[in-house]
């Protein structure tokens, strides 16, 4: 006797659900409350940024279309683009731009070349000796620029200064056009080099030592490892240092120029920042200073965007 039958598919077992609609969304104020904390945390920083950066920026922009001599009692008159045309007509601006370029180029050895060399060489100084060494290189950064300037003034003195005795020439460093610019660059560089070394050291520490080890086993000499592995991997750090140099060199020189040369002799150390300050606070031409400030701001934004794009291109996110 046979029994009749058929194969049936085994069904996927799952709990029975009555009506599985989408999960209910929490009420709107609950969602708002949940989304709020990050913005609350950001608020203090945003408020400070607005009060101390964006508002003055807007005011500067506004001021650049006015004429005012900084006296609270004197009137502020609207002059349209007058300040800008005056600024672009004077030869001062071009000359200051050129000197700024010289300062930037002159700073690069201190912010890039020396730090990379020192960073690469001091990698092999380990432990406590390494820490002491880096602290010594960093020390000038801790000296207040104005105090440093005072000491340098003695050192550079044409009659009693140590520098002239060592160099063996009667150069009046701070009162001759060429030497004054050199002195400003070197003193600023002396100030900043320790910071740059620190940045390079941090960049080098961030490179996985396995790369250099692998390259060594692959047969590369020490110089080849540096050239083919370490420097390319350090390039984002170097791009950052170049960016800092381009954007901030002229600012770093400011306290030294103001204490040592006041932009002289005959304007030979006046770069764009000193020029801006000079317009505003020596010539009491606030509108002209503001116009210069706006122009430089726009110029630096363009420059910085270009450099940031470049450094993004250079970075190799290794994971």
């Amino acid at each position: 006797m046979t029994t009749a039958g058929a194969f049936v598919e085994v069904e996927l077992v799952r709990p029975r659900v009555v009506a599985a609609g989408p999960a209910a969304r929490p009420v709107w104020w609950r969602r708002l409350l949940r989304a709020l904390p990050p913005y609350l945390y950001l608020t203090p920083a945003l408020v400070l940024l607005v009060v101390w950066t964006y508002r003055p920026l807007a005011q500067t922009f506004q001021l650049s279309f006015h004429s005012w001599n900084l006296l609270p009692t004197s009137p502020i008159t609207e002059v349209g683009f007058d300040n800008y045309t005056r600024l672009l007509d004077t030869p001062d601006l071009g000359a200051a731009l050129w000197r700024t370029l010289v300062v930037i180029l002159g700073m690069l050895p201190f912010t890039l070349v020396i730090p990379v060399l020192v960073g690469l060489l001091s990698r092999r100084v380990r432990g406590r000796a390494g820490a002491v060494y880096r602290a010594m290189v960093f020390a000038p950064m801790l000296v207040a620029p104005v105090a440093g300037a005072a000491v340098w003034q003695w050192l550079l003195d044409p009659t009693a200064g140590v520098v002239d005795k060592v160099v063996g020439s009667p150069i009046n460093w701070l009162h001759e056009a060429g030497p004054a610019q050199i002195a400003i660059i070197v003193i600023t560089g002396w100030h900043i080099v320790g910071f740059a070394v620190l940045v390079v050291s941090a960049g080098l520490t961030g490179i996985n030592p396995d790369y250099a080890a692998a390259a060594g086993v692959d047969g590369a000499s020490r110089a080849q490892v540096t050239r083919w592995i370490t420097l390319p991997l350090l390039s984002p750090t170097m791009a950052f240092l170049v960016l800092m140099t381009v954007l901030l060199s002229a600012q770093w020189t400011f306290p030294l120029i103001d204490t040592l040369t006041q932009g002289g002799p005959s304007g030979s150390t006046t770069n764009i920042y000193y020029l801006l300050w000079d317009y505003g606070f020596h010539s009491y031409d606030a509108g002209l200073g503001a116009a210069a400030g706006v122009l430089f701001f726009v110029g630096f934004v363009v420059l910085a965007s270009g450099l940031v794009l470049l450094s993004d291109r250079l970075s190799h996110h290794d994971d």
Binding site: D210, Y211, A213, A214, A215, G216, V217, A220, H317
Partner: protein, 378 residues
């Protein structure tokens, strides 16, 4: 291809001895696996062979030449790092060609050789990519290709498969084994994965706390572990180790513990001696209550798919039993087990070294000094 000799290699980091007096000969064409738990000094040992770390003591010889103080680049060894260490700023082709570039090959020669090696490892499509655009398995193959491109004296590999998922791991394992057979290369391979070690090695070196515990073929280390460490490291679950005592009973020796009484298959008389008894989970057999040498209670049963592992309590010790599914055991059941004498391993409870039976000529008046530590391995 080359032989490597390690003579008393030692490395200390401050107070920590990471590698402790290792003597080892790696034969030409051998696939030697360094196996041990995390932190036992495998990487340290490999880095010393590669020349990336100076030994505190001892010597490294490559084909009889002392290379202890030779820098890494002059050693003619290739290393595959656990992290792969692919140069992130270079394309796959330039990564593979790097060792040749360092050897000042011409551009055309490099291109030809890279294409050849890339084809072998199925990387031809990927040569223009950067490492970050590759999957884990592809990176692993690029790292291998970079080692293969220059035909080194020996390959050193530090856990090259540990970043891969289970499936890719087993296929890459087969790939590396195949490469080793094709090239006849000498390979020193570090892993903490015993499956990798058992399947790939011609010989396994077991390390514990920087010391060498045993060297032998996969069969030797599995079937005749020379210490409780090796016994407890290999196998899954590893060998059961129980505190027991060897006692004479009539004219034969038996091993006894609470709820445990098994014959050792040795006809002799010797004073009682405490031992650590080892028996592999798969060598325990279920039997009738009368024939049982081991009586216990089942605590849990694990299902491994094709097999089951029963965790039992015997006396106050734990014991694992592994067998084809279904074992027919349930938690709480009494269990009756036995094991053949040839599957019992005895170890000294103090030193942990294996004990081997050594008959003494019968005219001796003294009872034989037994059991006796095994003669030193290899």
């Amino acid at each position: 291809m080359s032989r490597i000799h390690l003579q008393g290699l030692t490395r200390r980091f401050g107070g920590v001895t990471a590698v402790d007096d290792i003597w080892l000969d790696v034969a030409d064409g051998e696939f030697l696996v360094l196996l041990g738990p995390s932190g036992c000094g495998k990487s340290t040992l490999l880095r010393m062979i590669a020349g990336l770390l100076a030994p505190t003591d001892g010597r490294v010889l490559l084909d009889e030449a002392d290379i202890t103080h030779l820098p890494a680049r002059e050693r003619d060894l290739a290393i595959v790092f656990q992290s792969y260490a692919l140069y992130p700023h270079l394309s796959v082709a330039r990564n593979i060609g790097f060792p040749l570039r360092a050897r000042r090959w011409s551009r055309d020669e490099i291109q030809a050789k890279v294409a050849e090696v890339a084809a072998v490892l199925d990387l031809s499509e990927l040569v223009a990519r950067k490492p970050k655009e590759l999957s884990g398995g592809q990176r692993q193959r690029v790292a291998l290709a970079r080692a293969l491109v220059r035909d080194p004296g020996a390959f050193l590999m530090d856990e090259p498969l540990s970043n891969l998922d289970a499936k890719l791991r087993s296929s890459t394992r087969a790939e590396i084994s195949g490469l080793h057979r094709r090239l006849g290369a000498t390979v020193v391979y570090v892993t903490h994965d015993q499956v990798e070690a058992m399947t790939m090695a011609t010989r396994i070196v077991l390390l514990d706390k920087g010391r060498l515990e045993q060297v032998g073929t996969p069969e030797e280390v599995y079937d005749r572990p020379e210490s409780t460490f090796v016994a407890g490291f290999l196998g899954s679950p590893p060998m059961n180790l129980l505190t027991a005592e060897v006692v004479p009973d009539g004219d034969a020796l038996r091993v006894r513990a609470a709820d445990l009484d098994l014959p050792l298959g040795i006809t002799a008389d010797t004073p009682p001696r405490p031992v650590a008894l080892g028996v592999r989970p798969e060598h325990l057999r279920l039997t009738t209550p009368d024939a049982a040498g081991i009586r216990g209670v089942v605590r849990t049963v694990e299902n491994l798919g094709s097999e089951e592992v029963a965790h039992c309590v015997v006396g106050d010790e734990r014991l694992c039993l592994r067998g084809a599914r279904p074992l027919g055991l349930h938690a709480g059941d009494p269990v009756h087990l036995t094991a053949a004498p040839e599957n019992l391993h005895l170890f000294d409870p103090g030193s942990g070294r294996r004990l081997a039976w050594q008959p003494v000529p019968s005219f001796s008046h003294h009872p034989p000094p037994l059991p006796h530590p095994a003669p030193s391995p290899i």
